[in-house]
């Protein structure tokens, strides 16, 4: 009897300890105002990251820019703030939506309508309005290797994206199109020979959503094209630039690869043909539980260099 009792006590002890810990943890739920700021950023090959760092550097040059670049690396004088690096736009969205005291940045089109997030006005202006900081406006571009003739299906898709039908898709998806008016798309009646392998798309996770819509529309429009004709991977703008300039990254073959980049300024190589695809803006956003609605560029700079660490400093 004693032995059984012993065991029961032990078991009960174990369970109650575990339970107690859980209750304690979940019980602790302070207001966002009292919490520290957690800043979410992107990996270094991201076009979004490059553009963001450039946009919030607050007109500073030299050391200040380097501070941003070495964000959370050694060499910063300020103790870096808590935060994390996420690979891919959707991971940033995901993280901020799940963490009440987090702040992040991504394409506006990707986050509008997300009930777990609140998009911030920057300097008093909402994204998409005329006075929104110009540095946060982005051109999505697609690029192909200029040193080779594209295989027929790839060329066809490229033409589609630049046609008026393509523009329609882009605008329906919620993006702006500030490019020149385009011609209607001629659908060939028969599938051209010369390309058995899939059309490869590589690049930015920011462009990924609109590209997905374009592919689907193309497949719906052209009867002899199927989804299996597309090999679609989004590994970051860096991948897109390399793949679209003749590199063989991710198994891409230059004569059937279209690269996508969210940062036109990123493209420094001379051996690619670039085409404008869509306009978008970058937005900063916080968790829906966070009462903050407006933020300035200076404050963003402060957050992302570790100078501002508490939400209390921003929320009055």
């Amino acid at each position: 009897m004693k032995k059984v009792l012993k065991k029961v006590i032990v078991l009960a002890l174990a369970l109650s300890v575990a339970l107690g810990v859980m209750v304690f943890m979940t019980g602790c739920s302070p207001d966002v105002v009292d919490m520290q700021i957690v800043a979410i950023s992107r990996e270094s090959g991201s076009g979004t990251r490059g553009q963001w760092d450039g946009a919030i550097h607050n007109g500073l040059d030299g050391d200040a820019r380097q501070t941003l670049a070495n964000w959370m690396g050694a060499g910063t004088t300020a103790r870096p703030l808590a935060g994390s690096i996420q690979n891919g736009q959707s991971n940033v969205v995901f993280t901020v939506a799940g963490q009440r005291n987090a702040i992040g940045y991504a394409s506006f089109s990707a986050i509008q309508g997300n009930a777990n997030l609140r998009v911030l006005n920057i300097n008093g202006h909402a994204p998409g309005t005329t006075n929104y900081p110009a540095a946060l406006a982005r051109d999505y571009v697609i690029l192909t290797y200029s040193g080779v003739t594209l295989l027929p299906l790839t060329q066809l898709f490229l033409d589609f994206m630049q046609s008026s039908e393509g523009q329609e898709v882009i605008e329906t998806a919620g993006y702006d199109f500030h490019g020149d008016n385009a011609e209607p798309f001629n659908i060939p009646s028969v599938r051209p020979t010369g390309q058995d392998e899939p059309i490869q798309i590589r690049g930015s996770t920011s462009v990924e959503p609109v590209m997905g819509e374009l592919i689907d529309a193309f497949v719906a429009l052209v009867p002899w094209i199927v989804l299996a004709d597309f090999d679609f991977e989004a590994g970051g703008s860096g991948q897109g630039v390399t793949a679209g300039s003749g590199g063989t990254i991710g198994g891409s073959v230059p004569n059937r690869t279209i690269g996508m980049s969210s940062n036109a300024a990123h493209i420094t190589t001379a051996n690619s043909n670039t085409f404008f695809l869509a306009n978008d803006v970058m937005a900063a956003f916080v968790n829906a539980d966070n009462p903050l609605t407006n933020i300035t560029i200076e404050q963003l700079f402060g957050i992302y260099t570790g100078a501002i660490t508490a939400w209390a400093d921003l929320i009055n």
Binding site: V10, M25, G45, G235, G236
Partner: protein, 751 residues
């Protein structure tokens, strides 16, 4: 210069296929003669067992004939090789891939020729050649991986500077201005060490105490059930651990964190610790069980009590086995990628507290390998960091080999006592110098001893206060309670993960999800797992075809065809051990660069299958070898004495007896294939797409598709559903493995 009009043909078909066929046919004709000559020279077709007994002096004239045949054969071999090279040089396809293709073709041709010879000449010899060749694959793979790592990584280190690379505290790749990039891996080294130690403390500590608890404190009836359950959990995919970490643990920890952020060393330690927990438990359990119960009995007989006996006699005896299990667990933790990337924070800085974001070497590679330009310094730096990671694992392996008990002797390892002595020597030395106790002369000592009985000695020991006495009294029970708590909480945690996923996911498994057609990339199209299921099946099939025969043949070779300590056996075993230690992300890197880019296989099921096959080859070899070792020699003796040759003995007696183990190995291997994620993302694809057209299509397996779903909030339900399917699949595989083993084992004994 159009020999055989090859250019025109090449335009219609794949170039590589053409020259592979051409080379194959040339070698296919010449090589049988090589093998024939080999046979003559060695007179192997006469001797069915491996030992020649009588000194024979009649070889001289035979040797001459054999030498001539051999010479002629090799000349013709070189001539045909030269012809092949000329052909392709003329048509302009000369290059590194050609070389690789030639090497691969030789291997294939030799294999095929061995089989041909089998039908004509001695079965014994040709099988021996087949076994040998399979084993050599492991050696070739190791060389290939090392060659690749050094070839691609060393120039980068040279350019960056060895010390600046290894001890540089900043890692930043500047896409706009590559010349501003800085590559220093010290923060990542720190991160890997921190992750390893954290995993060791949590997973190792919990694991060992749980193992002790299972073997000694748990009631017999649930012991088997507990071991089985924990073993089942060993195969859970790492992405699911990572997902749970990101969804539950990190927000949880954020509530108690001073910075309000949950990611960091603590989160990573918890997740990694729980991942290695099943491994540590299983291996420690084996060591503890193996300790003879006489130690325990002796302790108890002296009045020591159960807990004291266990902790003071049994556990120290199992020390080296427990240590070995810990080291193995740490090795696994160091190589882990997907689970870490979801909870670590991923900032390239030295870990700075329990909740500071940090990066391990594995995460560093995975984060940036997707866009590192081929032949760039960036990629070279990533590969170099893979080298550093590999060094880590090799060091851990070496420690493992030094520490584990030599199975042939009963000696305890010499390392631990040596380390102990090394550490305590300076202390003892100093103590002896400052101690003021005088040494008694020998006869004085005897007299002294005689005077005090045990009781008197106990009474004359320094008095301890009541609190200490109380603590000493309840210590045994406390130890037992703590062990139980560890056991229960660990199982609760792991069970919690499964329950969490299943409760959120089972309800969302729909017919559409499992069998719906892939209708579009856009977010308005419903997600479907059907292409991923098909991709997974195709991938598992190909990987099994590559890895399992090679693994089993190599194990048979090592166990049945080599003498202990022979050079070939040692080389193959070393190669297998090394391959076992290579972290999976390094395989992914190697696969991405070698199979996807250089060989031009692209992102395809083929690339993924080959890479993962290499990954599970070592485990297959080792585990099969254990199964073969367990077959008693008396069976082999009986078979030989009845006139059966070696091949027959191996295939009709040894392998059937070891079948339960082999089948278990296969099934668990499949589980491992299903769970693999990081390497596949870069060799097979990471975006879900339509049904694969064939093996050259890219695709996502179930685990990778799950990960892709988690990246989009809109599809969180589908993600949970996919995770549920994944968990169920892995659990089913594990249960099948243990049931099959038991069933086959019973069948042997009772038909």
């Amino acid at each position: 210069m159009n020999i055989l009009n090859t250019t025109k043909i090449a335009e219609k078909h794949n170039k590589k296929e053409i020259f592979l066929i051409l080379i194959f046919s040339i070698f296919g004709i010449v090589l049988p003669f090589t093998i024939l000559a080999y046979l003559k020279l060695k007179k192997l077709n006469k001797d069915d067992t491996s030992q020649r007994l009588i000194d024979s002096a009649k070889k001289k004239d035979k040797r001459l004939t054999a030498a001539v045949i051999l010479l002629v054969t090799w000349i013709s071999l070189f001539v045909s090789a030269a012809c092949a090279l000329v052909v392709f040089y003329a048509t302009g396809w000369f290059g590194f891939p050609l070389l690789i293709a030639i090497v691969l073709t030789i291997i294939v041709a030799v294999l095929v020729n061995s089989l041909t010879v089998a039908f004509v000449f001695s079965k014994e010899v040709s099988f021996k050649i087949i076994f040998l060749i399979s084993s050599v694959v492991a050696i070739i793979a190791v060389f290939a991986i090392f060659f690749f790592l050094i070839w691609e990584g060393m120039p980068a280190i040279a350019e960056i500077g060895f010390f600046r690379f290894l001890f540089g505290r900043t890692w930043h790749h500047d896409g706009d201005n590559p010349q501003n990039s800085i590559y220093g891996v010290l923060p990542m080294i720190g991160g890997t060490i921190v992750a390893a130690i954290g995993a060791l403390i949590i997973g190792g500590g919990l694991g060992v105490l749980t193992a002790i608890c299972i073997v000694w404190f748990c009631p017999k009836k649930i012991r088997g059930f507990l071991s089985q359950t924990i073993a089942l959990l060993a195969g859970l995919p790492s992405v699911i651990f990572g997902f749970f970490g990101a969804q539950v643990i990190v927000p949880f920890l954020a509530n108690i964190s001073p910075t309000g952020m949950g990611s960091g060393p603590l989160a990573v330690s918890i997740i990694l610790g729980m991942m290695i927990f099943p491994t540590v438990v299983s291996l420690s359990k084996n060591s503890i069980e193996a300790v003879s119960s006489t130690y325990y009995e002796a302790g108890v007989a002296l009045g020591a009590g159960k807990e004291r006996s266990v902790f003071r006699t049994v556990v120290p005896s199992a020390k080296s086995g427990i240590l070995a299990s810990l080291i193995l667990g740490v090795g696994r933790a160091v190589g882990e990628t997907m689970a870490v990337i979801m909870v670590a924070g991923n900032v390239a800085q030295m870990p700075d507290g329990f909740f500071a974001p940090f990066r391990t070497l594995t995460v560093n590679i995975v984060l940036e390998m997707g866009y590192a330009e081929p032949n760039s310094l960036h990629l070279g730096a990533l590969i170099a960091s893979g080298v550093v990671l590999l060094m880590f694992v090799l060091i851990i392996n070496i420690i493992f080999n030094l520490v584990k008990k030599n199975p042939n002797s009963n000696k305890e390892s010499v390392i631990i006592p040596a380390i102990k002595r090394g550490i305590t020597f300076p202390m003892r030395f100093i103590l002896s110098k400052i101690s003021r106790t005088t040494r008694l002369a020998d006869d004085e000592v005897d007299e002294f001893k005689q005077r005090l009985t045990l009781e008197e000695k106990r009474k004359s020991a320094p008095k301890i206060n009541k609190l200490s006495a109380f603590i000493v009294k309840i210590l045994p029970m406390t130890a037992r309670v703590i062990s139980y708590v560890m056991l229960v909480s660990s199982i609760a945690f792991l069970g919690g993960i499964i329950i969490y996923v299943l409760t959120n996911g089972l309800g969302h498994i729909s017919w559409q999800l499992i069998s719906g057609e892939f209708s579009g990339f856009g977010v308005n199209h419903p997600r479907t797992l059907a292409p991923s299921i098909v991709t997974t099946l195709m991938y598992v099939l190909l990987t099994s075809i590559i890895a399992f025969p090679l693994g089993i043949l190599t194990a048979v070779f090592l166990q049945e065809y080599t003498k202990k300590g022979s050079k070939v056996a040692k080389a193959v075993e070393l190669a297998v051990e090394t391959l076992a230690g290579v972290p999976s992300i390094v395989y992914g890197l190697f696969g991405m660069i070698f199979f996807v880019n250089i060989l031009g296989l692209g992102l395809s099921i083929t690339s993924g299958s080959i890479v993962v096959a290499l990954m599970i080859l070592p485990v297959t070899v080792r585990a099969t070898q254990e199964g073969l070792k367990a077959v008693p020699d008396s069976y082999r003796e009986a078979s030989y004495s009845l006139g059966a040759g070696k091949v027959r003995t191996v295939f009709r007696v040894v392998i059937p007896t070891a079948l339960p183990t082999i089948v278990t190995v296969l099934i668990l291997g499949i589980g491992r294939m299903v769970a693999e994620t990081a390497s596949l993302m870069f060799t097979m694809g990471s975006t879900p797409r339509a049904m694969p057209d064939g093996y050259s299509s890219s695709g996502t397996t179930l685990a990778v598709a799950f990960y892709a779903f988690t990246r989009n909030m809109q599809f969180i339900n589908e993600a949970f559903a996919a995770a549920s399917i994944l968990i169920i699949l892995v659990l089913v595989l594990n249960i099948t493995a243990s049931l099959t083993a038991r069933f086959l084992g019973k069948k042997r004994a009772a038909t």
